[in-house]
Symmetry: C2
Subunit: 475 residues, 2 copies
């Protein structure tokens, strides 16, 4: 008979330490923690640890580390690459940070917030707003994703073009290291040059170096003037040209700049209730231009009108509508935000979260679209995303006359096809979703040699027993 996944003595010690709220062992309680957001993997675990404080987590980690038990950190469980769920061995313990959900401090003078790992992103946004400020990180899963998760994956989203990724919004961290030690690094300074930037190493490490338990975050003044335009544009190059026009006019006002294909908008109109096309005529390419300023008299609407007028005269913009109200703005943003859901309802689809230098986005979209249709005749490219920061979701929808499963069986060929072009354009095979479990096999060919060697050396130095989120990031 095989060993039990956890030694009875360890389970007993964890029960004593954590109590019934802090340790889930019943199958029905564990189940939601085993499957990733996209249903790519279904793992197993003997228990889910839910510590109520950083100190409690540190003690639990010390127990697990002493027993040589692997640990899988989990936040909102919204990973797009299977980064937060255990493998199938049944020997990896899931550690949910959900109960560390306090906002410890918020300071509108310093423009900083100290939030625990389990704080949901939306709650952090709301807390900033209540303090009269803005926490700008914004992404589709913001109602479930947590601060610990968005930092561990260096999440991006819509506002990277203006405010950067999660990394750039982080000033300090508190973390529990793989040996159970606590690192108290919750500084909230713009300038602090005192040794290696550990905080930047933990951000984006996907839980393979330890547990982020809290973070000090930057806030910004809230927007007091905004403008939102939904535009039909001539082609991919016109979308980029329009971005450059707005950036040149007022770089600091461009809060988001999103590209959508004609087909992607068709799917949203077809499948999502309440969504209609804001412009009069259907086009093959659209962009959403989101402008914001803390200055009440910034005159963004007039600026947008002036830039759009110029772009229309040049033939770049075919038609454009400015939102007349907050309700209308939300409706326009929904067209973009419902893209993943609309694609799901249309059938099976394969996601490609890639990035290239901004100047190469039009070439990326054109070349990938052509190559994918050549690879699978009848398949339907649905590129969309953050043209302003070079991050396009180069997704592919199944052919109408193909079985979904047969299409998904070709996922790796589809990803390889896109990645080959991305590599040729000096891009990245994972822009904002990270590596998780899904893309570990790409690491060797993209990051192999000195870079992956250094990463392995750091991993071995900080987690010598290899207990933190094994099977993720590294091939």
């Amino acid at each position: 008979m095989a060993d039990p996944p956890l030694a009875p003595s360890l389970l007993h010690a964890l029960t004593q330490l954590l109590g019934p709220r802090g340790l889930l062992t019943a199958a029905e309680d564990i189940a939601p923690h085993l499957t990733d957001w996209r249903n790519l993997y279904c793992g197993a675990t003997p228990c889910v640890i839910r510590p109520g404080s950083t100190e409690e987590l540190a003690r639990a980690v010390t127990l697990c580390a002493a027993a040589g038990v692997a640990m899988v950190p989990q936040g909102g469980n919204t990973s797009m690459v299977g980064g937060a769920t255990p493998d199938e061995s049944g020997r990896q313990v899931v550690v949910s940070l959900a109960r560390l959900n306090r906002i410890r401090a918020i300071d509108p003078v310093d423009m900083t917030m100290t939030a625990e790992a389990g704080v949901v992103l939306k709650a952090a946004q709301n807390a900033a707003a209540e303090a009269g400020c803005l926490f700008p990180l914004s992404l589709g899963a913001e109602g479930s994703a947590t601060i610990g998760g968005v930092l561990s994956t260096n999440a991006g989203g819509n506002t990277t073009v203006r405010y950067g990724n999660a990394r750039e919004l982080m000033l300090g961290l508190e973390a529990v290291l793989p040996d159970g030690g606590i690192w108290h690094g919750l500084r909230r300074l713009r300038k602090d040059n005192t040794g290696y930037a550990l905080r930047h190493l933990f951000v984006g490490a996907e839980g393979t170096l330890g547990f982020i338990t809290a973070a000090s975050l930057r806030m910004f003044p809230r927007a007091r003037d905004t403008a939102l335009a939904f535009c039909a544009v001539a082609d991919e190059a016109a979308a980029l040209a329009l971005f450059r026009r707005f950036r040149d006019r007022d770089e600091s006002a461009v809060r988001a700049f999103e590209y959508m294909s004609g087909l992607g908008v068709d799917f949203a109109v077809k499948h999502i209730e309440g969504i209609t096309l804001p412009v009069a005529t259907r086009a093959d390419h659209y962009v959403l231009v989101d402008l914001a300023s803390s200055r009440p008299d910034a005159g963004l609407r007039e600026m947008a009108e002036s830039v759009l007028f110029e772009a229309m005269q040049e033939g770049e913009v075919l038609d454009a509508v400015l939102a007349e109200s907050e309700a209308q703005a939300q409706k326009m943003w929904r067209i973009r935000e419902e893209h993943p859901e609309a694609q799901k309802r249309e059938g099976a689809s394969v996601k490609n979260d890639v990035s290239v230098p901004v100047s190469k986005v039009p070439e990326l979209i054109r070349r990938c679209s052509a190559a994918l249709v050549a690879l699978i005749p009848g398949s339907r490219p649905v590129p969309f995303g953050h043209i302003g920061d070079g991050n396009i979701h180069m997704n592919l929808e199944q052919p109408e006359d193909m079985e979904g499963a047969a299409f998904l069986a070709r996922s790796h060929g589809i990803m390889d096809c896109v990645n080959e072009i991305v590599r040729d354009l000096d891009g990245s095979f994972s822009a904002e979703h990270g590596i998780g479990r899904l893309k570990t096999d790409m690491m060797e060919s993209w990051r192999g040699g000195a870079e992956l060697g250094a990463m392995r050396a750091i991993k071995a130095a900080l987690d010598p027993k290899g207990l933190m989120n094994p099977g993720k990031v590294f091939p």
Copy 2:
């Protein structure tokens, strides 16, 4: 007889590899590389290696590593903490990156520049300007400091409040690792989540993990509207209140916000030719407000007038002058930039480059000033710096009736006095200058425990022989 500092076979191999331009051994050629900018230390070296390419550097590092010879990277040799000069043993080889001085690429669409380590900061600024863009990093030593140096030390300067430190302007790196391997990481993507953020580990590592040989850097649209105000303010709290007024009005327009004490401005007027007080009446506290926007119709002058009028009505601002021309603006900035030189001419002074959360700057200045005068009666605090990012140079000028050497002998007591207050205010003992050799003894008490332990583990993992810039950063 002791061993020679370098084995003849190694010296021969380096000569063969590097040629006469690439290897300095004559005493007069070596001398400029031995003493730091502030004349705190004077070291010794058997030779200065000056590679002409990344590949040449890699081969030289391979030779030195095989021979167990320690290497000290040097850029413009403008370290404020003795970070770029060899120790007194005569066994550390200086490696100057000065000949790696090409700008490899510049792209105004992507807003990126790829510059080699030896490019002088001012040259990088100029190259960006010629491409119609802005490279915003700006600091006193910009005519000598190099890209490799400002990245290795994560230099800050005047524009951090708007654009961040050097770290935030960096998208990718090329580096030679301690074993001579080359890491090709010159990506220029805003989003790239593919494993650990090695580039952030090298930035601020002060050359203890390897050699940065080139970097891809972010550029920004150039300013098309500016305004500069020199203001006499009521006290330290009024300086902060004025910063908040401008930030709240238009956060993205505040390019720099600098504090100066009355005494500091007195010294500049007294010692520096051509400097006069821009306002009618002498005050105890001044600020310089530098506004800039890429938008030509931003109306920054009117905005500044409106904010200053409000602040005058509240008694925060006593008097203010707006620059009427570029020449006048440069003259106002000179008052701030000549502070270090004016302090030097006034006598001996001790520098304290510290930071606190922005809200605590007034308390920092008041408490430190009082404590320093109590510590050394007659000594003259001359705080100045970047109030907008919480970084104050809490410098202390010698008493008029004291010997300079006797005053400098008390340097460590002065630094301890300031640091005690900084610690109480949740600040940092080194804001933008780094650790170098000067502050290694502070690392244990400020960063000891889990944090310094993790740093040591990383250092040992990436530089197991301890050959990269030994004696720096770590106690």
